[in-house]
């Protein structure tokens, strides 16, 4: 029964806590006896620490210890794989370097020491007193000239995400194509910059004579972090407890890089006190992960009437020295259009830069930008309407695998999006629309996102007073998890939402995967439903076996749960409240843990969400300033669990797409690898003044195959598509193609 709460635009259940400042984030736990850690970072990108003079720091007031590679606790290697995710090696997700184990330096900003003191101010000051002597080597900082280049086989070890693929014969098809187009698109390094900085509090204690670590950490991957900490520190997994009920934004960060929590745990062990390390915003540009820069070559072959016959998408990107993470730029190219000959490759340069990691729409955001800009260029070349060109190449099945889509209504998205923005009312000729000094342009792009689903467990408890609790170790990072899983649980338990709670953010709760890849709803929702079903089944059996129950003797299949009561399906008047059954049995509660995982539908269908994004831009060519005036988008993302929180997530993603398009870039000094953009004054994330009017509509058509809920994820699709829609609108406004993100004023301004 999914009609009471699920799908309703309810206010966030954690909203009151958030608007009153009572929601507690990681750095805010009141841990008795807390000491503060401050980190000393490497000034150079490549070399060796030849000497560390920590005397002044040690003698500074309040200092408890200075931890360096010389006295830091030893760590075990990072695991090769956690769950299904490849950790080490080319295409793996994380860096293999463990912090403070050697004197080697692989990027500027690498932690070289942690100073622990009794106050934040004293720790930070003492850290400034550490003197490091380097034996500096020349860093490799340019993708084009890097000596170590690899061709990673697959993304994160996933067999379905090969990174070097050829379908058909793209080379021959390109050579034979009547219309050919080859373009190079470049994108800069960007940073997630959630407003909550990374933080960890680590507390060691003895439990039953053995070491036990409690970790409060800004993480969207409780279980993976628990596993990594346990492996690295040589502890049984049960001896690490990770707690995080609120994450202050992640966007791909806070999941896959572990130096921050490891350093905190090591420092706490060294000083024998709980330690907190709050990373400065400056540090976030070194240790928090980033989206790598890309240089993408798109080659398209087409017939004169707009049938694309060949598509090549070759990406040069980079990672750090010790990570194999590869921005999978062809994720969109491989599936979006019905092209018989598709080829793509990803070449990875290993540089002396901080490690990259996923960032909202990994691959899709910048790879989709390049593809959808190239498609727009082809449309102009063919003198076709950009929407029409896309319709002529509409894929009715996945072109790479040949599998049918689980559900795809993209045509409706295009049609409705055109209406919303007023597409047909524009003058399609580039550089034809002007208001005073301002050139006006319209652009569009297709957007998509894979609709993944994973396995999860949940525990459902019904109490004798008729209330219920559902628990799962997932995360609240603004995605609305507390709210939508309470909605789903309430419906699954046939209880009003006020009588149900959903708990998360604790590694001791039943298993949930890392919150990422827009999979959480499709993963945790069914698990909550299944646990609810199982506990109701047990309650039915209890009632049926109780001679005093009106349901005595009834088969479980003949009993329904309705509005907090178990009733006979044949005669709903006959039944009783959940609490009554338990109270009579003298049970305070009844509990069930159960799980759900994807089945063979994953082999039968290709699961994706789709959408169409339309942008109107205003360009002041004299200054080079581009502002997005309007964004309109229509999405086919399955059924919405809560239109209110979904709307927020989507517009937030689109605004992040505005940032990626117009302003976000992290620069490193090309001589020494130091970040020269390393604060929020120089790294521009969109402000309220940059955010346009955004109109979002949904088809709200349930996906019949993904799960009983019919919901695909929505966390990332907003960010994808928006950059190309804006870039294509800039072309329409100015007649000029800008092929390098971000589109800052310096790139457009002309004498």
């Amino acid at each position: 029964m999914l009609t009471q709460a699920t799908g309703k635009p309810l206010d966030r259940v954690d909203g009151r806590l958030k608007v009153t400042g009572a929601a507690r984030y990681t750095a805010e736990w009141d841990v008795p006896g807390l000491a503060y850690g401050a980190v000393v970072e490497s000034a150079v990108a490549h070399g060796v620490v030849s000497a560390l003079d920590v005397r002044a720091a040690r003698q500074a007031p309040g200092v408890l210890a200075v931890m360096t590679h010389e006295n830091a606790p030893r760590l075990q290697p990072i695991p090769a794989k956690v769950g299904e995710t490849q950790f080490r090696g080319e295409g793996g997700i994380t860096e293999t370097r463990q912090p403070l184990q050697t004197a080697a330096i692989e990027y500027a900003g690498q932690p070289l020491a942690v100073v622990v003191a009794d106050t934040h101010e004293r720790a930070r000051h003492a850290a400034s007193l550490v003197r490091v002597t380097y034996e500096t080597r020349a860093p490799q900082l340019a993708m084009a000239t890097a000596s170590r280049q690899t061709l990673p086989e697959s993304f994160l070890g996933n067999e379905e995400e090969k990174l070097q693929v050829t379908v058909g014969d793209p080379a021959a098809a390109l050579a034979a194509a009547p219309v050919r187009l080859e373009r190079v698109y470049e994108s800069a390094i960007t940073h997630h910059n959630p407003i909550e900085p990374l933080a960890t509090i680590a507390r060691w204690e003895k439990r039953a004579g053995a070491d036990f670590l409690t970790l409060y950490d800004t993480t969207r991957g409780l279980e993976v972090l628990q596993q990594v900490m346990a492996t690295s520190l040589g502890l049984p997994r049960e001896s690490v407890h990770v707690i995080c009920p609120f994450v202050g934004g992640a966007f791909g960060a806070k999941g896959w890089l572990y130096a921050p929590p490891l350093l905190t745990a090591m420092a706490a062990r060294l000083v024998g006190k709980p330690v907190k390390i709050e990373w400065r915003r400056q540090d976030m540009f070194a240790v928090a992960g980033q989206r790598a820069a890309t240089r993408q070559t798109l080659a398209l072959g087409a017939t004169r009437d707009g049938k694309i016959t060949a598509l090549r998408h070759d990406t040069q990107t980079h990672s750090s020295v010790s990570s194999g993470f590869t921005e999978p730029c062809a994720r969109v190219t491989r599936m979006l259009y019905a092209v018989p000959n598709i080829g793509f490759a990803h070449q990875l340069a290993h540089l002396h830069l901080p490690s990259p990691c996923p960032m909202r729409g990994p691959g899709e955001t910048v790879g989709g930008w390049a593809l959808e800009c190239a498609i727009d260029e082809l449309a102009a070349e063919l003198n076709l309407d950009p929407v029409e060109l896309r319709l002529r190449n509409y894929a009715d099945k996945n072109p790479e695998t040949g599998k049918p889509w689980s559900s795809k209504q993209l045509r409706q998205c295009y049609a409705r999006g055109k209406e919303l923005i007023g597409w047909d009312a524009r003058n399609p000729r580039p550089r034809s629309m002007r208001e005073g000094n301002t050139l006006i342009g319209y652009g569009m792009a297709t957007t998509m996102y894979p609709a993944g689903r994973r396995e999860a467990q949940a525990r459902a408890t019904i109490f004798a007073d008729g209330r219920a609790l559902v628990q799962n170790a997932t995360h609240e990072l603004g995605n609305g998890a507390y709210t939508i899983f309470r909605q789903i649980s309430a419906d699954a338990l046939a209880l009003p939402i006020e009588r149900v709670r959903f708990e998360l953010g604790d590694s001791a709760l039943p298993s949930a995967p890392t919150t990422g890849g827009s999979t959480t709803t499709a993963t945790v929702g069914p698990a909550a439903q299944q646990a609810a079903r199982t506990v109701l089944g047990a309650l039915k059996r209890l009632a049926a076996s109780d001679a005093q129950s009106p349901l005595f003797g009834a088969a479980a299949a003949a009993i329904d749960a309705r509005e907090g009561r178990l009733v006979l399906r044949a005669n709903p008047a006959k039944g009783e409240e959940y609490g009554a059954i338990l109270r009579r049995a003298k049970l305070p509660s009844i509990v069930a843990t159960d799980g759900a995982k994807p089945g063979e539908e994953r082999q039968k269908y290709s699961f994706y969400s789709f959408g169409a994004v339309f942008a109107q831009v205003r360009v002041d060519e004299a200054s080079g300033v581009i502002r997005v005036a309007r964004l309109c988008a229509v999405y086919d993302v399955g059924r919405l669990m809560n239109p209110k929180t979904a709307h927020s997530q989507i517009i937030g993603g689109m605004a992040m797409g505005v940032g990626a398009t117009l302003m976000e870039a992290t620069r490193y000094d090309s001589r020494n690898g130091r970040a020269v953009v390393r604060n929020l004054a120089d790294y521009h994330v969109p402000s309220m003044a940059d955010t346009p009017d955004i109109t979002v509509e949904w088809l709200n058509i349930p996906d019949p195959h993904i799960s009983e809920l019919g919901a695909r994820g929505i966390g990332e699709i907003g960010c994808v598509g928006t950059p190309a829609a804006i870039t294509n609108a800039v072309f329409h406004a100015t007649g000029r193609r800008l092929r390098s993100l971000p589109l800052t004023p310096d790139k457009l301004v002309q004498g």
Binding site: D11, V13, D14, R16, K18, V19, T20, G21, A22, A23, R24, E28, W29, D30, V31, P32, G33, Q59, A60, P61, G62, A65, D118, T119, H120, E121, R122, H125, H192, P194, I195, H241, G248, G249, A250, G272, R280, R281, T461, F463, D465, R467, G478, R501, D506, A508, R583, S589, T645, S648, Q649, I651, G652, N679, L680, A681, P686, S687, M688, T691
Partner: protein, 358 residues
């Protein structure tokens, strides 16, 4: 694991048809009543050992149980066998029990901490200000009250209480009683060479009085302490957020004499004598401030981290409404000092406009 234990704790409580009438508040020297605890046992059963009893109001807060568990550990480590009973540990499942017990202690709807001695006599009590959480300093103060000689040094028979952990405890107590700056025991330091040469002013703690949300707070702090850190670390008013610490995001916005300012770029010592308002002090009663209510209604946040800063900025602007804030474009410009990476901006504008319309 912990959660399971909490569920197992649950004992059936009869539903109470009416909210309990609150008794007069208990004070030091009073004999505690024999109430029912969340696990179904009676307070009387704990006679013979000290009991720290913590009350919390009936608000859902998923962080409460974890924090409470920390305090229970603190009691176990330093409490000489004291039992820590949190009447909200099982918040969701024992509301009925708690209501009764809180009423018996005269603290219905309040956050309060009682220390009972082994005879069941109230030895110490504190009521936490509304909008704030119970703090470890207060739990430690209760433990200190239990053993006034505790700060005199290590005691024989303290069991697991090592010299080191004892220092930890007293330091923490000192810090949270707002007397930081006492040097840690020298045995905890690695360097034992010459006495450290104190940089200028390093040991000069300043007596600072801050007026926050209408109440004076006396602190002994380093001149370096920013108002933001004084709020978060010294006073544990963590609603004010640290996003960049350099005036580049607006998450730390508070009001100073009614104007919005950035607490990260304000030294605590410089704002004595001025009235500071934080998110905790915005609503005067249990009802939300209209801007908070509008943010909730319009979903003007996602992760919630920048939200207190957004709300403080918005409330200050709305006060200036006739001259400074009119159209959506003016709201956009005026609110641009508060970055929201979730980009709830359109909803924030809608929330502010709703309050504007009145």
């Amino acid at each position: 694991m912990a959660k399971k234990a909490r569920i197992a704790f649950y004992t059936l409580c009869k539903a109470m048809p009416l909210p309990p009438e609150s008794a007069p508040a208990l004070h030091a020297g009073d004999l505690a009543p024999n109430g029912v605890l969340p696990d179904g046992s009676h307070l009387l059963e704990l006679r013979g050992r000290p009991v720290i009893l913590a009350f919390a109001p009936e608000e859902w807060n998923p962080t409460h149980a974890h924090q409470s568990e920390l305090f229970a550990r603190l009691s176990r480590e330093f409490g000489h066998g004291a039992a820590f009973v949190d009447t909200a540990t099982d918040e969701w499942h024992s509301l009925d029990c708690r209501g009764e017990l809180a009423a018996q202690f005269g603290v219905t709807g309040q956050r309060a901490l009682f220390l009972l001695d082994e005879h069941g006599v109230v030895r110490w009590k504190t009521v936490v200000e509304s909008g704030q959480d119970l703090r470890s300093g207060q739990v430690l103060a209760a433990l200190e009250a239990l053993q006034p000689a505790a700060s005199g040094g290590a005691r024989a028979g303290a069991g697991a209480l090592s010299r080191r952990t004892f220092v930890t405890a007293t330091l923490a107590a000192a810090a949270l009683l707002l007397l930081p700056g006492c040097s840690p025991d020298s045995s905890t330091k690695n360097g034992k060479d010459a006495a450290p040469e104190a940089p200028v002013g390093s040991n000069d703690l300043l007596a600072v009085t801050l007026s926050i949300n209408g109440k004076p707070h006396r602190l002994q702090i380093d001149a370096r302490v920013a108002l933001l850190d004084a709020l978060r670390e010294n006073l544990h008013l963590t609603g004010t957020k640290k996003g960049c610490d350099h005036g580049q995001c607006g998450a730390c916005t508070v009001h100073l004499d009614g104007q919005s300012i950035l607490s990260c770029l304000t030294l605590a010592v410089m704002v004595q004598g001025q009235e500071i308002t934080t998110i905790e002090g915005l609503a005067t009663g249990p009802a939300l401030h209209p801007v908070q209510a509008a943010f909730l209604k319009h979903d003007a946040f996602q992760c919630g981290y920048c939200t207190p800063g957004q709300i403080m900025a918005a409330t200050a602007l709305l006060r200036d409404q006739p001259t400074r804030l009119g159209s959506a474009v003016e709201i956009r410009e005026a609110m641009s000092g508060n970055l929201c990476r979730c980009a709830a901006y359109p909803n924030i504008i809608a929330a502010i406009q709703e309050v504007q319309r009145g």
